[in-house]
Homo-oligomer: 433 residues x 2
């Protein structure tokens, strides 16, 4: 691959052709040093840095918006959805600042004693939360992730190296400047939050190979990005995949509750990972339960793709094809299938689900128990909407995504999930027999 010189704005570091490897290595070295000091920073110092960064963002809103205007102008061929993700306005800048203040107000996870016990030989063993170290975050052109990810890493005592999408390069740099001002004002190492100072795509490949400098990589974005990261990374990856979430309406469901939950799970916001993509209905009660649910969805503008039994209930239902059971529409479309009770629902989810979030609506406690026990997903709900799959709704404050893997973190990834722990053991001279 040919290295390519990339123009960097006036204040930024300049990355000459061929210097990318050195630039990335330097980021890693600075991050390791910053992580060592950040791990020991007082909770108040980190909170102060977050509040100062929020203040700087508010103060510099005009500069951030100007940088964003430049990004938007250069990305004229972006589709409307991506353009909306890239676009900032004053209220979005203020929302970022408020997000940083909310992270500042969270309890500090570092140093918390998670477990504490004493052995028969008198050794006292404590398990204490510590930061992971250095976290690399690779994301698409959503400038607000710069603030969210930087803030969450700082709160959890981790240094981070941020690599945003190239279309959001100037916006991210402007936001990053505010974060650095916050760090400096609080007396923390400005290298605690670093942004890759170049648009060169090869920078991602370097990050994925920096196993000496990085303890974790979190990719945020579409499937192709995440799959590339999982395939190539030499650094451990915490993957935040989309969700093919299911709602199962059991024959013992309360109809009014089922209508409210299905409508909310699908239509409250269709683009979030906790949005329902498939509705499963107990075939024994479908004739009674399904028509009003379908009518609600259609009235709200949702397209229905159903199996034959469902098509027979409403002429507006289109035919579902095999691919629909695996689809994550992230849109106002839902696949609907009639299944043979809770066992049928569990079997369908085992085959087509993505281990993210699934809900059962039923008044039958035994059916609910079976569903919650046997559905192998990060989040399983009884009589509640799948749209609660969110760190904020869990009371965790901000989140960096929903982990669909089973190792380290599962479900919403907040500041606690960005930590590890160590065992601190207190003796009085004990030796092992």
């Amino acid at each position: 691959m040919k290295a390519q010189t990339t123009a960097i704005d006036a204040e930024g570091a300049r990355v000459a052709a061929g210097d990318l490897a050195a630039t990335m290595a330097a980021l890693g070295t600075r991050a390791r040093l910053a992580a060592a000091s950040l791990a020991l920073a007082a909770p108040e110092q980190k909170s102060a840095a977050l509040r100062a960064a929020a203040a700087a963002l508010r103060q510099d809103a005009a500069a951030v918006l100007a940088a964003n205007a430049a990004d938007l102008a250069a990305a004229a061929d972006l589709g409307p959805a991506l353009r909306d993700r890239l676009m900032l306005d004053e209220s979005r800048v203020i929302a970022m600042a408020r997000g940083l203040e909310e992270i500042a107000a969270l309890p500090d996870p570092v140093g918390a004693v998670i477990a504490d016990w004493t052995r028969p030989n008198g050794l006292r063993i404590t398990r204490v939360r510590v930061p992971l170290g250095v976290i690399g975050i690779i994301y698409e052109s959503r400038p607000n992730v710069t603030a969210d990810a930087g803030g969450l890493c700082l709160k959890s005592g981790n240094a981070c190296i941020l690599r945003g999408g190239s279309e959001s390069f100037h916006s991210s740099r402007a936001i990053h400047r505010a974060l650095v001002r916050g760090l400096v004002e609080a007396g923390l190492d400005p290298a605690a939050i670093q942004l890759v100072p170049t648009k060169e795509r090869a920078a991602v490949g370097h990050l994925l190979a920096m196993s000496d400098s990085l303890d974790l990589i979190v990719p945020r974005g579409g499937k192709s990005l995440i799959e590339r990261v999982q395939r190539e990374s030499r650094v451990p990856v915490l993957a935040h995949l989309d969700g093919n979430c299911h709602v199962y309406v059991d024959q013992a469901a309360d109809l009014a509750m089922a209508r409210a939950i299905v409508l909310n799970a699908k239509m409250r916001r269709t683009g979030v990972c906790g949005a329902a993509e498939t509705l499963l209905v107990d075939a024994r009660a479908a004739a009674r339960l399904l028509p009003p649910i379908l009518a609600d969805l259609i009235a709200a503008g949702c397209e229905i793709r159903g199996d034959e039994a469902t098509m027979a209930l409403d002429a507006r239902v289109r035919q579902a094809h095999d691919a629909d059971w695996d689809a994550e529409y992230l849109d106002a479309i839902i696949a609907v299938k009639q299944v043979s009770g809770v066992e049928g629902a569990i079997a369908h989810i085992a085959r087509h689900g993505s281990h993210h979030t699934e809900a059962i609506v039923t008044a039958d406690e035994a059916a609910a128990r079976l569903f919650l026990d046997r559905v192998d997903s990060a989040i399983v709900l009884h009589n509640a909407s799948t749209q609660f799959a969110d760190g904020g709704e869990f009371g965790m404050g901000a989140e960096i995504g929903i982990a669909t893997g089973k190792l380290h973190a599962r479900g919403p990834v907040g500041v606690e999930q960005l930590t590890s722990f160590k065992y601190e053991i207190y003796g009085q001279g004990q030796v092992r027999p």
Copy 2:
């Protein structure tokens, strides 16, 4: 690579040339099915299987020993240390059986409610421990690992695929048969514990690529094995590396305590990962503290490799070279260096340590606090021997190794560390505003 037919003993599955891929895929499919049922098995059923396996091992001891004799005869060119690891005798078989009984007696980790809170909207959120799924264990020719690893995976509700070293092939098969008898007697799927039925080395490469069938790979063995697994695996890896463990003796150490701890940390067993490899001594007190400590070690048969200041204290000290500070001797050798107080010790460990286990000996609480806070290791001890780095000593029952990474598990890996969790959420019809 040329596929090669391998003789399998009379009862075993036969793996014909070229069929390895199909054999491995079939193991994966059976393991997934077994994992689904095992995740729901009652605690008593798993314990009964473990006790029945222990009974079968005792009953079949003669067959196990005969298989082991065949392995030993075929491995005539093995060095004495590896030969000792491969060798079984009646007491070792009984120790394996007792290990299974101890695992049976542990609390069952699956289904434990780790957290339970209610949100202002009435949603009750619980965090419940669940198995990881299917675990692959790749180990060297230590037949007892077959029983330990199989037992720990079963207790934690995980199906497993075991791949032992080829020199222990027949021993592992004989032990595996006892485990399967235990599963069958307790009414569990015999595929819950599978052993790769061939010595073909290419089987390891297949395992490392089985990301659909395996949720985790645990390599147990030397550095080259672990590095290969970390490099090649498409499945998440929980690595159990050796430890370059340090003891730091501070100027405020009680001399008698320091002598006892250093001697134990180095010499109790030199081949375990928690054995001390480097002794750091506060330069301000070395003239007083170090001579009796060195005399103890030398009297116990330990070779000393010291820096110049240490060589000046005892003529029997050999010169340490740069490589000694990074060495994991796993032998009766220790590197000794004088450092500038606790800060000097922390800096040395940051540079040369392996993030495993380090101890400080001191009566100075402030120095101990600094050491415990700033040394970035899985286990840090104040006034106790590094040889306590062991799941059994932590009260966790058996362990599968010590994790030196920071993700998911850190420190001793027991049954709890082989689990994940899910969020079970109980609502009364809540939808998200």
